[in-house]
Amino acid sequence: MMESKQKKQNTTLQQRNYQQLQQKHEIKRPVLKNCIKAFFVGGLICVIGQAVSYFYIYFFNFTEQSVGNPTVATMVFFSMLLTGFGVYDRLGQFGGAGSAVPVTGFGNAVISAAIEHRTEGFVLGVGGNMFKLAGSVILFGVFSAFVVALIKTLLIIWGVL
């Protein structure tokens, strides 16, 4: 807060005028529109996921409890393919968080990083940077799962659950 005030004081009159002019002409972010788009794109991905899980329940021997793993694997695989073909990027541009938050966003993060670093070679380029974005997802996912499992174990030992 103090820093921004100091910055303001350090600027010249001309700079402040320019900032005002810039603020006047700056296009406002359509937050509500983006939220609606994200809602529908995210919802559509989830509907496809539900259809895939029903497919596995109907045609294979998966129960509602065990169908999660093949469904997630299929959805990640599809999003990886679509990222490779350049379709998921367009969907991401349109849907924003709606395409990044579901598990398909994970596949997109892996493959887009791999494509980006392809010119640096397969080992140090693709191999080294593939999990640049998705690595944090895996790390915090595993860590939070460990913490939750620890809490559950303690609650079971104490007889709460």
Binding site: N61, F62, E64
Partner: protein
């Protein structure tokens, strides 16, 4: 280009719609999506379905549940149900309540209770197969045991 895409889409739709026409559909095809309310099934031919009907009526009376299937085998009785969407957060509690109610009301029966869609689908399929003359009671009992085993694997 756009017109060509629309034409291809329209042709696909027409072809698919034509293929679907007058095909004999099984009830189990939509068992995951709509309310089926299947008839209670008894795999043991020496037993009648009166008791099973009552079990179904008792479980259906719960407000959180909307579709119930009951299968009675030689030893076990399988009760499968679908839970209304907004009540799915309390699945464990509902299962506990049903178990309690059934054990209290029918102390001699050995119940297996499940809310799994796969188990429900398999019970509807079993009901359909029972209707055909080729499917014997022995085969039905075998299939019933398979379904009960599926609920054990789930846990």
């Amino acid at each position: 280009m756009v017109i060509r895409y629309r034409l291809i889409l329209l042709t696909c739709l027409l072809v698919l719609a034509a293929c679907n026409h007058n095909q004999p559909g099984k009830d189990s095809q939509l068992a995951l999506l709509k309310t089926m309310n299947p008839n209670p099934v008894v795999t043991d031919k020496t037993k009648d379905s009166d008791g099973v009907d009552e079990i179904k009526k008792d479980v259906s009376s719960l407000p959180e549940i909307y579709d119930v299937a009951v299968v009675k085998g030689k030893k076990d009785t399988l009760v499968v149900y679908k839970v209304k969407h907004l009540h799915r957060f309390k699945m464990k509690k509902i299962e506990k309540n049903i178990n309690k109610m059934l054990e209290k009301k029918y102390p001699k029966e050995n119940f297996t209770v499940s809310s799994d869609y796969k188990i429900f689908l398999e019970t509807v399929r079993l009901d359909e197969r029972m209707k055909s003359a080729k499917f014997s009671h022995r085969e039905a009992e075998k299939q019933f045991k398979k379904i009960v085993n599926m609920t054990d694997n789930k846990k």
